[in-house]
Amino acid sequence: MSVTARAAQGHPSGDKRFKMLDARMRRHQHSPDALLEILHGAQELFGFLSDDVLVYVGRGLRLPLSRVYGVATFYNLFSLRPKGEHTCTVCMGTACFVKGAGEILAAVEAAHSVKAGSTTADGKLSVVVARCVGACGIAPAVVFDEEVSGKQSRETVLARTRGWTGA
């Protein structure tokens, strides 16, 4: 049985999301150079890239796990750990930096006892630092889940994150 045929059978767990991942790989003809696209897709489906998913993608694209793991860990946007229910992304681009993004980040970290790049113990909030979300005109910018909000302050950001965590 060829590798591709094996992958096409889905995952032994019966998780439907693997079928959807198969469909994405088929759309790229299981081409190894589609690795980034497939990992993006996998992260959308699963929220993060577990070892299981990485192995599955490697098989599907006929790539060694070392290559898949190497790429998944190289790029900042791929997460190998589950994210919190909500994500607060503080932009630390230059424009936001000179307008006080550092203080906003410090306030969020202190208020929720969490370090940038990690998730609160109750799994409710992930705090992430972005390199630049390109919203420099309305700096400092903070992204709440998917929604970019400009001209933020310590107070406005904490109001949102506290609303999520109930803290």
Binding site: F74, Y75, T94, V98, V133, C136, G137, S149
Partner: protein
Amino acid sequence: MTGDELRQIAENETARRRRCKHRVGVCMAAGCQSLGAERVKAALESEAQSAGRGSEVEVHGTGCLGLCHAGTMVSVESASPDGTPARKLYERVDALGAAELVSHLVAGGPEPADRRVPADSPFLAKQTRIVLSGSGEIDPERIESCIASGAYSALERALSEMTPAEVIQEITASGLRGRGGGGYPTGLKWATVAKAAGARKYVICNGDEGDPGAFMDRSVLEGDPHRVLEGMALAAYAVGATSGYIYVRAEYPLAVKRLRTAIQEAEKLHLLGNRIFDSAFDFRIDVRIGAGAFVCGEETALIASVEGKRGAPRPRPPYPAASGLWGMPTLINNVETYANVPAVLTRGASWFSSIGTQKSKGTKVFALAGKIRNTGLIEVPMGITLREIVFDVGGGIPGGKKFKAAQTGGPSGGCIPAHLLDLPVDYDSLLSVGTMMGSGGLIVIDETSCMVDVARFFMEFCRDESCGKCVPCRTGTVQMHRILERITRGEGRPEDLTRLEELAELMGATSLCGLGQGAPSPVLSTMRWFRDEYEAHVKEGRCPAGSCTMKAPAVARPAGREVRA
């Protein structure tokens, strides 16, 4: 698709535009969207409907209108008696503003004058818009709207009237230089790829705008994607490529969405695909999405990333022009470079080269940000002085603070201090003062920011973004960052400044790619112009700007316990 059919689409669209008295464009770029542009657009539509004048007012989304901090921006194009549409720009439009605006347009109500941006305001008057000419006028999500404003007409003309060599000749004659930062002559690059031998050739558009504080490419891709696609198609025709990729940052989901729509629409009309304009020219474009790695803006790293690998650069030569994507000759240019191409071919090389300075032709798009009143997107002719950009177009520094420096070129660039405010902004002048044009981020720093801290900020960025392939960059950025951090904590030592200079020289000379070679630039540049600030930190234990939390003046450290940097 033939040229006549293209013109027919344009005519139909123009006729459609004429039927409505007012065309209202709501800025749908990322900045305004986050300030509620969707709601403003809906309010404008419903106000026009409820006034019973829905057919007179066309409300459409459009690209970045420039004044991002004063969003939501709205442009109004009204038919005037002599047929030429008059355009007005409004800022800070909210639901209330939308109601006032519609009542002014259809019911003769008073103009919301306090929201009007005067046409003679320096913000508008000092700009020359080539790349951004469509932003505000077109609806980027409708190809017909772009065609009516001239999209694909340059491609049609090139395919029917010009040989590839003539296209290259025109680009060379225009003096266009790469807008990604380096300023390499575009015509020369195209000619090299055209001459290179290979079974296939590729055209890549670098949209991995990673410089923090820069959002020009984002705005162009979101506001006028067809301009970039057309530029790429012209480049492909000139160099003999049949396949192209646009590499866009994953942080720009809206740009990705608009590009995908644009490519689909262009394919539907056979403006991309096989036998474009019934010529023998085939060209396809795929979008590739990055995953958050600054180093992928370096061309060889970007190519590795398109191939689905880690974005690690490789030594050059061979340059991508000889051996790029999958080992084939590859043309790689920045978004803004491609966006200039259709205008050069439509209006001619001599028109283009009449704008700018002797060695830097045309315009440059800048993202103005930081401590400046008019934060947003501007396009100015090359050679404009920094003073004009900051104080006229940018409106000066808010809060009565003093201008201290402007940072250009991102983490590979440097600062321009106040005494050089009259410097003309072009590739060579910027290089001569130790910074560079870069992709166009221009961040204004006022007296409240500490320059050592700014240098530390950029070094931290480079440290985190170093891919780790070459030693000078991997360890050099860590060492330099440690020293800078120590200085900003008030624990700097007298020998630190010499150490920084030594490391900077070493990294600049021996790093593999532009990231490592350029990483010391912000440090060298701030040391050159603001050495007194460094010395105040190290020798006097104080931060002149008052932004670093300094420790109490350090007591002399016990000898022999040298903590390794």
